[in-house]
């Protein structure tokens, strides 16, 4: 009979490490598994601001942290959309929201109606028909309503958080819930000889840690390295680059969004939290940074970034979570999201002892597929950019796309439809609106939409637009709403 592991040690000081500890404590911890956390002496890298997807709400529910408390402790602002600037020659600006957009009519999908009206030049950009996008644009926010007849039910939101603040607060949260935290440095990892697994972890203080399961949340995937696991490189699909992180002068929590701007030599991701404005600049190693990008900024740190994932994030008694398992540029997921994706699957399956071979195989299969889907959506963002000449963009232009992504793009270009594969992480709505916002109008439209008189289609679109404009205008300002919500 298998049983719960007696103890699990989470290793690392990354935000993934604290998310993992909190999640394990609240799930298997409550059934008697001892969860410990070994910080190691890794420097706690400054993380800056990060975007967090809507699914993170499930994590908050799991650990029993009310949303206002989470937002206070992470200095979070709300996030409704990514705001793309100068992304391609056709789209100067586009608000890509999490929530739904438009509404279909009998037999006619909204996307088809929109494409038809666009073909004859009488439709607005797709973000006109998304409440999330319009509220993001006008710096408004309110929570979605569950009532499906309300336009507010179309909203979905995430957060922009100060990841350093949240990491510290999660650490305190875990300690307050009884987590044993060991702050030490790594001396040596002892492996079992019979099969490659971790026998114990010797620390500088001479303490020896022995656990049934180890969670590798170290920055460099130290445990995975010891187990001879190397990340699979996506260099062919997403070129390695430099990432400069910096803090910009704070001007107040503005709109509930993340700004992604294409530049000649790369792209910028700007995220504002309650008291901090941070920027990440992605550019090719060989190019110099345009001084306008760093103007008035402080704490500039430049690191080289390679993208890839562990093909087997769970090896023997060790599971890589977060950056140790997957790295991607932050268009659609951040380290927080990736960590939750990995640890959530582990909790769902429930780790057990003796190690269950099939369970490990299934974990790797599912998580690996999801990583591939995330990589494809990331590549899709890059693929939809054009008109930029710099070295990084040239490398992007030469990169390969997976067969699934090629099919997805072709199907959209040809028919305006979305090909969905198993284990997609990014919702249909998000993928579809991304394509509608940034790709060319599809070549061919459904017969059904061609049969509907243009006037009727226009009428419906106008109604949607009006309902959305009204809801966006009457919604509270983000800053005021945020203040009131966080003081609850």
């Amino acid at each position: 009979m298998s049983h719960l592991p007696n103890n699990i040690v989470v290793m690392g000081n990354s935000i993934s490490a604290w998310i993992s500890s909190a999640a394990l404590l609240a799930s298997v911890g409550k059934y008697g598994v001892k969860v410990s956390h070994c910080v190691l002496d890794e420097p706690a890298t400054a993380l800056g601001n990060m975007s967090v997807r809507p699914e993170f709400m499930d994590f908050l529910r799991l650990i029993g942290m009310p949303e206002p408390e989470f937002m206070r402790s992470s200095q979070a602002t709300f996030k409704l959309a990514n705001y793309f600037r100068h992304w391609n020659s056709e789209t100067d600006e586009f608000y890509h929201a999490f929530g739904e957009f438009g509404t279909g009519m009998a037999n006619v999908q909204f996307s088809q109606a929109h494409a038809r009206l666009q073909q004859i030049g009488v439709s607005q950009a797709v973000d006109t028909y998304s409440l999330g996008a319009q509220m993001a644009k006008s710096a408004k926010f309110c929570h979605p309503k569950p009532d499906p007849t309300s336009v507010l039910s179309s909203l979905s939101y995430g957060w922009n958080i100060d990841a350093d603040a949240y990491r510290d607060s999660l650490k305190h949260f875990c300690i307050s819930r009884g987590l044993e935290v060991i702050e030490d440095a790594l001396e040596e990892l002892e492996l079992t000889t019979s099969e490659l697994s971790i026998k114990n972890v010797a620390l500088k203080s001479k303490q020896i840690l022995t656990a049934d399961l180890y969670i590798d949340c170290t920055e460099k995937g130290l445990l995975m390295q010891a187990l001879e696991q190397k990340p699979h490189s996506w260099q062919q699909q997403i070129p390695s680059c430099n990432v400069a992180t910096m803090e910009l002068p704070f001007t107040g929590p503005d709109a509930p969004l993340t700004t992604i701007s294409a530049k000649q030599d790369g792209w910028l991701i700007d995220i504002t939290t309650q008291q901090k404005r941070c920027r990440q600049y992605y550019f090719a190693g060989a190019t110099a940074i345009d001084p306008t990008i760093t103007q008035d900024s402080k704490n500039i740190v430049i690191r080289q970034q390679h993208y890839g994932c562990m093909l087997e994030p769970w090896v023997a008694n060790c599971i890589a979570i977060g950056n140790a398992a997957l790295t991607l540029p932050g268009f659609c997921v951040s380290e927080v999201d990736v960590s939750w994706l990995g640890i959530r699957q582990l909790i769902d399956q429930c780790p057990r002892f003796p190690l269950a071979k099939q369970l490990i195989r299934e974990y790797n299969r599912l998580v690996q597929q999801r990583y591939q889907r995330l990589k494809d959506v990331t590549c899709l963002h890059l693929h939809l950019a054009d008109g930029h000449q710099g070295l990084l963009w040239q490398q992007v232009g030469q990169s390969e796309l997976s067969a699934d992504l090629v099919h997805k793009i072709k199907l959209y270009q040809s028919r305006g439809k979305l090909a969905l594969f198993d284990e997609e992480v990014i919702s249909v709505n998000e993928q579809m609106s991304l394509l509608m916002g940034l790709a060319h109008t599809p070549k061919q439209l459904d017969l059904m939409v061609q049969q509907v008189p243009i006037g009727q289609l226009q009428n419906i679109q106008q109604k949607i637009e009006q309902a959305i404009q009204h809801a966006a205008q009457t919604a509270p300002h983000h800053a005021a709403y945020l203040k009131a919500f966080c003081s609850q």
Binding site: H3, Y31, N107, A356, L359, E362, H407, L411, K417, L420
Partner: protein
């Protein structure tokens, strides 16, 4: 590129697939834009035995705007809550595969883990005792599912048993009213364009030529276009699904109609019993390598619940599917695309899937290959998942029953199924498909029903106090039984609908209700 719409669609075949396709297309295509012609041969006839369905058919009917009362009256249909597998279970026991979930989640952990835990501790309640659909089916009760996801009455769904010939006729009237042109005659030849190999017309044996832009192959097992004309090869799965013959015969009704299909295991296959309002459909599906036609017929006739109403009809088939269901300007829907055998009544559902995808990807005159790729990808993916689920029933059978079942028990199975089985065996854990018809409640029914128990369960559940778990299970059973006691009999529910005194809510594409 200027878009040039197709102007003529030709459907080859007037069986269930042909008329379902014609009805769906004619429902949203204006005949002014595009003419739909259906060709069928009275000489060849139809298979006409597809009589048990799954809940998705209700979504199809609702899409067509069909009134449920009218439909039940015209097709002599009854309600179906699931399938009872007689003699398939562990040591020849019976079990149900319901259109509904078992039990309720406790503390966010799946119900079946609690049930397994209790069973390991000596609890003797059956998994079936926790299913609303099964309890209702066993008591021959029925009600329409509720829309509120908090209600116990939303924990199930339902389908129909219908007369396939009447259904085809019903849809024929529907389609003809919407402009579908019906042509009868035997297709003798299929003409193709010499350069691109596209089908240009079908030629009847009286010389009549029917031209089209898009051809839908609904010609049944003959696969007249997809295989004979376009040479798309057939992927044979008969080593996994070895039944290849059937004998069908209707018989008189006996007592009140049951609200479930029966599948009764025999020595080299199984027998179906499908209760309609005016008769019971029966058939014996078997593998001719292990049983002669005469033996099969004897078994069927000796096991009829009432007197036969017609001469037995024999059918042959090969399980598998064509490598592509869409090739060039031809889309195969129904038996011409593939057949997985009728054990779980999935064929009409697969027809429906083909129709939905075709409607979504209806091509224009450029016939982009990406439409074809997408259609084939989605259809194949679903066939593979359904195939695995069907194979599971055979694989888990008792090898000692007969040489046929020994073969099924010992046969190698696809890796995808092997892995699902191994995962469940080791842990009791299910990985849900992100898209697929049969999800946890179905797999669980068959695993447990056929005596395939996991070696381990979720260790979280094992830490719980057994008495407390046992009490919760007891309460659940009690609540279910009370809820079933409060609903009408199947016959009364059917009559109420037929008299216009009751009606159902909107259907969903979910086998298990909304809960």
């Amino acid at each position: 590129m200027q878009q040039k719409s197709i102007r003529q669609i030709v459907i080859v075949g007037g069986g269930t697939a042909g008329w379902m396709t014609a009805a769906a297309l004619s429902n949203f295509i204006d005949p002014k834009h595009c003419q739909i012609t259906l060709v069928e041969s009275e000489q060849i006839g139809t298979v006409g035995v597809g009589e048990a369905t799954i809940p998705h058919i209700r979504v199809f009917n609702q899409m067509l705007g069909i009134d449920e009362k009218d439909f039940l009256t015209q097709t002599q249909a009854t309600f179906k809550l699931g399938i009872k597998f007689c003699g398939w279970g562990d040591q020849g026991q019976d079990y149900f595969h319901p259109f509904g979930a078992h039990g309720f989640e406790i503390d966010k952990l799946p119900f079946h883990q609690y049930w397994l835990h209790a069973r390991n501790q000596g609890d003797t309640s059956a998994l079936d005792d926790y299913s609303f659909s099964i309890t209702a089916a066993k008591n021959n009760k029925f009600c329409f599912p509720d829309e509120s996801s908090n209600s116990i009455y939303s924990s199930f769904s339902y389908a129909y048993h219908l007369d396939a010939n009447l259904y085809a006729q019903y849809l024929r009237t529907y389609s003809e009213q919407r402009g579908v042109k019906r042509v009868t005659g035997l297709i003798a030849e299929v003409a193709k364009n010499a350069t691109d190999g596209f089908v240009t017309s079908v030629i009847l044996n009286d010389g009549q030529q029917i031209k089209g832009d898009l051809f839908i192959d609904c010609s049944g097992f003959r696969s007249l276009l997809i295989n004979k004309a376009l040479n798309v090869s057939f992927e044979d799965w008969s080593h996994w699904l070895p039944c290849n013959s059937a004998i069908a015969v209707p018989c008189e009704t006996e007592g009140e109609p049951l609200a479930y299909t029966q599948s009764i295991a025999h020595d080299a296959g199984w027998q179906w019993q499908i209760p309609l309002q005016h008769r019971i459909g029966n058939g014996h599906v078997f593998c001719s390598e292990f049983m002669t036609k005469e033996q099969a017929q004897d078994i069927l006739l000796n096991n009829l619940p009432a007197a036969p109403m017609a001469e037995p009809k024999q059918l042959h088939f090969k399980t598998g599917m064509h490598e592509k269901s869409w090739s060039k300007n031809c889309v195969a829907i129904g038996l011409s695309s593939g057949f997985l055998e009728p054990l779980e009544s999935t064929s009409i559902y697969l027809i429906q899937l083909g129709i939905y995808k075709l409607m979504e990807l209806l091509p224009d005159m450029h016939f982009s290959s990406v439409d074809e790729d997408e259609f084939n990808r989605v259809v194949k993916d679903e066939y593979l998942k359904v195939r695995d689920f069907l194979i599971l029933h055979y694989k888990l059978s008792d090898p000692n029953k007969s040489p046929f079942w020994r073969y099924c028990h010992d046969m190698p199975i696809p890796d995808s199924l092997e892995q699902r089985m191994a995962l469940f065996k080791e842990t009791g854990y299910f990985s849900e498909y992100s898209a697929g018809l049969f999800l946890t409640p179905s797999w669980l029914s068959v695993f447990i029903g056929q005596g395939y128990f996991p070696d381990n369960i979720d260790p979280r559940v094992e830490t719980l106090n057994f008495d407390a778990v046992s009490k919760q299970l007891q309460n659940m059973r009690h609540y279910l039984q009370q809820s079933v006691d409060a609903i009408p009999t199947h016959k009364n529910a059917l009559n109420a609908l037929l008299k216009g005194q009751a009606h159902s809510h909107s259907a969903s594409l979910n086998l298990y209700g909304r809960r």
